[in-house]
Symmetry: C4
Subunit: 330 residues, 4 copies
């Protein structure tokens, strides 16, 4: 390899330091340039607060993903609409091919030829095929043969979508609405807590928390910085009760010496990434959450969620997730 | 960042020690406050012994999870019930719409108009549609068109549920009913063993064992403590025969110097988390098990499970899983 | 915790050494007691050569697993048999309920009442429901309503099984029929090679090789020992061509100084565990293979599999997988 | 173990060095012998540029894989063809068995007996079964019973394929068409960037980059070498915007001192392996990409993709992915 033509700086030790320093950025994917935004980075539903333009229509529609993630009522409404639309379409085609070739019933009982075609179409699409209306010409037989194939494929698609919807791994966790800053050992700590709202078990939980805030560069221009926060414990094997996540504000914490005022000025946001294993299907589940500076209660601690009134059994009261009480900080 | 307003202790070296010490807790998710319970933490079926209140009705029902994990007899009973209920419902609707618009058979042969509607409904729901009963009015045709769509979706759902049930990754492992404390090299060891009850292969097995027991704090109040137990081997690649898990009770073990009496007093429970890969589908399988102090045989060892009577082949006798014999401890 | 009652040895440093020594066993799950067997541990199809007795009938049948792993011809034969059996069964039930209540055709055209019942059953089970035979009594209508539900569920089951069969992650790799011992750098090395027989891509391959052989203990009794073998490279990211796995026989290798005679005496077997990611579905695929002492060619090396006859393109000739040629050993 | 028969070199320290040296090869699976090819190793669609001969017909067809990965239009065309072919086949069988035993309609309305058989076949295969044509002999009843079973299985297969197609994990990422060499801190760096074209989220991204080029051995024969390239950051947790991958060309980089001319001479190609987690289904997604020497712009940098025109929201313009501008190198 010819390397005589060196146009590069050869201050390699300096280079490496700079590179290493740059590597220590804890940017988790948002980049450092989002500084003018006064809104949150991660929405409450776990999506990102970024607008995209010039994506293709197909990518923007993202049909499969939408059909999987929309609510059940909306999903069934779309199914019903598609069913009615397809039947109307094919009813039109049968009308063009001649409704009189669909034999077997008196049109008038079914409100005229269009509805006869419509009902014949529905009986073909669903393959129920009573036969009291049946195609009695070459053309309508062809259309019916095609429609019944379409029908089977359409319901095959619906079967797949239904299965995909209910087998999709979703973390049914609830985060406390607010985080607190409470005393912890000899220091204070930033804390939030979560519960599993479902009876099915989550195992091997893993949580990471990053702090994002705007800081001025040496030249005074604002830049967005990211810090990984050390947690007292970031993994648990089982999740049968509630779990309180604790970031102790020791002198190494980026929160050390920070006041509520500082947090507001710097547009601080705590970004949480949650991962666990759903035990029922051994599927990995993921979710995101964030707390902004105005969702933190200074000098509050969480009240226990165990209900002591029922002797002999360990009872968790899910309604107490957000219960806090005042406490003096260290 | 303004940090003049320091309200925090700056004993950072002390702080870190405390934090680190706290980090060494081996709590696996139950917390330290479950001390009044005299029942087990993990049930024999792997679920957690925790009662939950104030969870929402929907979360408590957890329908999908129940339909997946209930027994096959119960599952098919629910399917049959749903089928009968839906047909009865639609039969009622057809009665309201006028059973005389369902033409083609003599009502009396089918025990009257209700049953004619019921059977017509079943023929529509399953899309069998013989056609010897057929809708001969606009209204009943509409209902039938709707019912046949519902029918296809319902059976699509059933297809999905059936597939989800039999493709669900389940570890068909059997744990020995009791654990033993037997001599091992120069010390004693706590042991249990497991087998794969199915012929399909499990690979890359991974087992962790924790000891949970109640200990008094410095001030005498009881607190629940957790210890990870070192295993002689906690991973194997293949699992063709039985596997005996061995925790040697060396001086570093929390069991060192412990008597059966101690175990009972401290409400000791061994919590086991099992993970493996099912070879057929390359799916991860998980299960949990626990041994309480009264499920441990002191001074017993497991008898080999190999059956020597059949020469030339290696034969494993699954019935011998729980066979132990007395042996003097070190 | 009361620890006065110490019945344990307190030679903790000695204990730990022994435990650590024991930990170094590389047993991969077969145990040390299989010494009388003169047959292989891992069969050529990747299954284990272990016989099991006293497993329950249900576990031995392992129906789901069998239906998934049997050949396609066998699978479809079972489906056809189940279809014929179910129709015969229901035909019998219709005969008992009275074949004359199934109306619409002349029995004689269908070879008598049994076959009329049989064909009616098949038309109900598959929900084809022509209606030229139809149930005209309360009892047969009930049976038909039940059968059509059974039919839909049965085909739902078949749908699930079909999907499970073709979506099952299987590694379509072929191992060279023999391994070789060939010169490698300044030493010799034990080598085998593999190819991907399919056009779909495998990525992130990972191979581990263990040597299993029978060695005498200090007291002369034979015991089965396991050694992990170091590979020149045990991971590759892509697998577009063939891959030759190389274990260099340096002085640290358990094969160092070993002769073909030694291998035979000690019943040596090389156990291979293969893992990769199928790119099409991002599924993990696993397989096992083994070479016994009589499947190793000493003083042979593999010939290249590239076909040089076609200029300009890189061409891999799958037929050359097992091609070797003699070479002098170091 | 008898080890008297030592035929091996005992220069073990030398051996190990050589082995270790060899281990440092960063070959990612293509091997060192592909030197005559002047075409790329990885195609733009992520497949490998290797020709295979003598693979079996079955392996070459690889039907399942093809049906999963072909385009939707092609897939539906094959389905339609299979449907027409199967119906034609069964129509022929019914003709042989006697088309006059299919009763109920006047042949002439359907263009003669063949088409009557064809339409009856389609009504049986899809289980629509109107019944206006029905089998009225033992033989045709048998064929129809068989065809309806085949029909259900075929559509079960289609259901599975459809589900497999749309649930397949695919990374909808777009790589910048060109890579650049731009100044970075005190050195220069090789850079490319990627975006997520879909609205669904990718998390836990992981990218590795290897450089492949032909270098002469000590004896002058060309050999293909591989180098893993250090990236400023190779992992991010979230991927809401664009991500620029940066390889700083420090003195440790294999690109250090390299000119455009060098790259062309050595047939340099940058091989990229991309892995992430699709958040919707918690599925792992993989893709590959490569840049050849003629796809690198020296002395260009990427322009930001954020659109500053819309105040208050963070807006990403996907059209700007390939936008670069000239810049002087360090």
């Amino acid at each position: 390899m010819n390397s005589s033509n060196r146009r590069f700086s050869n201050q390699s030790s300096v280079d490496r330091k700079l590179v290493e320093q740059e590597e220590q950025r804890n940017d988790i994917g948002f980049g450092t340039k989002i500084t003018h935004s006064q809104s949150r980075l991660i929405n409450k539903d776990g999506s990102f607060n970024i607008t995209r333009i010039n994506d293709s229509l197909w990518d923007r529609l993202n049909i499969y993903n939408r059909l999987i993630t929309m609510g059940w009522a909306q999903f069934f409404s779309w199914l019903l609409l598609a069913y009615l639309f397809t039947n109307t379409l094919f009813a039109g085609v049968y009308m063009l091919a001649g409704s009189d070739t669909l034999k077997g019933v008196d049109d008038r009982a079914l409100n005229g030829p269009f509805w006869k075609c419509f009902f014949f179409s529905s009986q073909t699409l669903t393959t129920v095929g009573y036969g009291h209306i049946s195609p009695d010409s070459f053309l309508t037989s062809c259309i019916a043969a095609f429609e019944s194939m379409i029908g089977l494929l359409a319901f095959a698609l619906a079967t797949g979508l239904l299965y995909a919807r209910f087998s999709r791994p979703v973390a049914h966790t609830r985060f406390s609405r607010i985080a607190v800053i409470a005393p912890y050992l000899d220091v204070n700590a930033w804390m939030f807590r979560i519960i599993n709202t479902r009876a099915n078990q989550l195992i091997d939980l893993n949580i990471t928390v990053s702090l994002s805030r705007i800081e001025p560069k040496a030249d005074g221009t604002p830049t967005r910085k990211y810090y990984g926060l050390n947690l007292e414990r970031s993994k648990v094997t089982f999740f049968p009760t509630n779990w309180t996540l604790v970031h102790p504000i020791t002198s190494e914490s980026p929160l050390y010496g920070c006041t509520p005022q500082d947090m507001e000025t710097s547009d601080s946001e705590f970004l949480i990434s949650f991962q666990a294993m759903d035990d029922t299907f051994a599927q990995s589940v993921h979710t995101r959450y964030s707390y902004r500076h105005d969702e933190i209660r200074w000098g509050h601690k969480f009240r226990p969620m165990f209900d002591g009134s029922q002797q002999g059994t360990v009872t968790l009261d899910l309604n107490r997730l957000d219960d806090t009480e005042e406490i003096a900080l260290n």
